[in-house]
Amino acid sequence: MSYHNPPTPPRKSATFDDQTLAEIRRAAATGIYDIRGGGTKRKVPHFDDLLFLGASISRYPLEGYREKCDTTVVLGSRFAKKPITLKTPITIAGMSFGALSGNAKEALGRGATLAGTSTTTGDGGMTDEERGHSQMLVYQYLPSRYGMNPKDLRRADAIEIVIGQGAKPGGGGMLLGQKISDRVANMRNLPKGIDQRSACRHPDWTGPDDLEIKIMELREITDWEKPIYVKVGGARPYYDTALAVKAGADVVVLDGMQGGTAATQDVFIENVGMPTLACIRPAVQALQDLGMHRKVQLIISGGIRSGADVAKALALGADAVAIGTAALVAIGDNDPRWEEEYQKLGTTAGAYDDWHEGKDPAGITTQDPELAARLDPVTAGRRLANYLKVMTLEAQTIARACGKNHLHNLEPEDLCALTMEAAAMAQVPLAGTSWYPGKGGF
């Protein structure tokens, strides 16, 4: 060390950071892209970037625990003879049996039922366990049509036509051979142990005009009883919402890029789709432009974690939300109690995302009977119900503080944004100002 040649600490590139370098090496060694579960891991503008203003002289609050703050929501009131009524606007999103174990599906059904809300099937069809344990079950109608049959359609409480998912708008699915047990194979009419690809497009319709006829067919098959949802990934929320409404949907489900998936290419999860926050206002705008806000209900998903997130999504105009990842965490996914085993799999609790490999120590994203037996569906269901209740209470707490006697009375006016990005996406003023980017033409 000398005065003329002082040392500098080694400097790593921001562009070629450790994660990037490791991925290049991994790709070079294996020749295959990285597949994983979960949603985007990059930081994107989110509900954390919004705050509620609370009551003041001009807005008086409601007394906690004393004055009523209603949380019920009715879905499917547009055309369905039997709309469904939820006690809380938080629903459980579609996750397939196949991706999840039978016990996990049962736990989701039990938890949702205890909390007075609905759960949803997924790619792979409906199991008796989940039907039996779910008071309200939404049956997904997916491009693969695995397990699709008219009997299950009739015993569902609502039908969800899946066009896209936030984690992979425009992508299909893949269930790797490791997870194809006899039962999963049988439900999907495929041999055991082979990779099961789910198509990205529906096999018998393309475009909004066909969708309208498809919805009509499903209504005719089920005698116009069931609410029909249309689920889209966060890509072009204004037009997708408008087209779903035009095609006759009762409910639009809009899933932003933070939304989880059972297994998709990492490059897809991280680089396709829009953040949830950016999707809500355009979708609500489409509903308002068509005079359909609150008549066609909007369910928002993708990164919902707390009652605050719920309240914010509702304040921006959604009627309800759906949760996937958070529900799995509530029933035990990525729990530190399995840390030793996560370490053996080369990961750590909180980061485990190789759900497609079927080795989940928590017994949730697996078809291995021994691992699956680790999850007790009754206890796990109870945990989910607790979590749903906490979230509902949290959302009510905020709504009361804003003076609202129903969660649906929350409005954009109750919010401000912490960042320019969030202000622009949510179209609420930057905190301390009355302006957001784009407002007044600026």
Binding site: S144, P150, K151, L153, L190, P203, D204, I213, E220, I221
Partner: protein, 228 residues
């Protein structure tokens, strides 16, 4: 015999009559006149009824049929007999795209030609086409049989799983992972059975070639990436 004139009666009346049949009902033969290209005619049948449709229909005729016997005395639009579970559907004329899509059982007979994607994602249905079929037929076909007396278009059986394809005429091209396979005695037997069920007596099963999955894409392998 109940007759539904779709030029004067709403489609809803027809479909709800088909769904609401009490067990042991006498009237199990329905006639539909003036279908005029209506969509979703006779969908969701879940009883052994017979439906005679006198004319051409639009999309999804006999969709999800489970046990009914439906005959279209005309042509059918896209997605005829989609996701059929059991029973039979006969089209006297031609069928548009996606005929028999995702069907899980039953027999679909098309006496004319079928357009593209016939039998797409089929999961157990048997389809017999007297004429030709269009491109991408039996795409991702999982199980069941597709029998074509005429020619097949481009990319037959692309990404095929275990569906068995039999073509008597020419095949413009085979899709990824679809290959010609040996026609063994059990296939001849199955073909004879299907031809008979479809009312075909002047064609011998030996005249067909069999196509099936090479099963190379069953588990992902980077060396097959060109085929994806």
């Amino acid at each position: 015999m109940p007759v539904f004139d779709l030029s004067t009666t709403p489609l809803r009346d027809l479909n709800s009559a088909l769904h609401g049949l009490p067990a042991g009902a006498n009237d199990t033969v329905f006639e539909v006149i003036n279908p005029r290209g209506h969509h979703a005619v006779a969908v969701g049948i879940d009883a052994p009824v017979t439906v005679e449709i006198k004319g051409s229909v639009g999309y999804y005729c006999a969709g999800m049929n489970d046990g009914g016997n439906v005959t279209v005395h005309g042509s059918a639009g896209p997605g005829v007999a989609e996701n059929m579970m059991s029973g039979s559907v006969v089209i006297e004329g031609d069928a548009s795209q996606y005929a028999g899509a995702t069907g899980r059982g039953g027999l679909l007979v098309i006496k004319g030609n079928a357009a593209s994607r016939c039998g797409i994602s089929m999961k157990g249905i048997d389809i017999v086409v007297h004429g030709n079929i269009g491109h991408m037929s039996a795409f991702m076909g999982q199980s069941g049989h597709l029998v074509v007396l005429g020619d097949a278009g481009d990319a037959l059986g692309d990404s095929l799983y275990e569906a068995k394809l039999f073509v008597r005429g020419s095949v413009k091209s085979l899709g990824a992972d679809c290959i010609e396979k040996e026609l063994r005695p059990e296939h001849i037997e199955k073909l004879s059975e299907l031809l008979e069920l479809a009312g075909i007596s002047d064609v011998r099963p030996e005249e067909f070639k069999r196509y099936g999955s090479a099963r190379k894409l069953y588990n992902f392998n980077i060396d097959n990436a060109d085929a994806y």
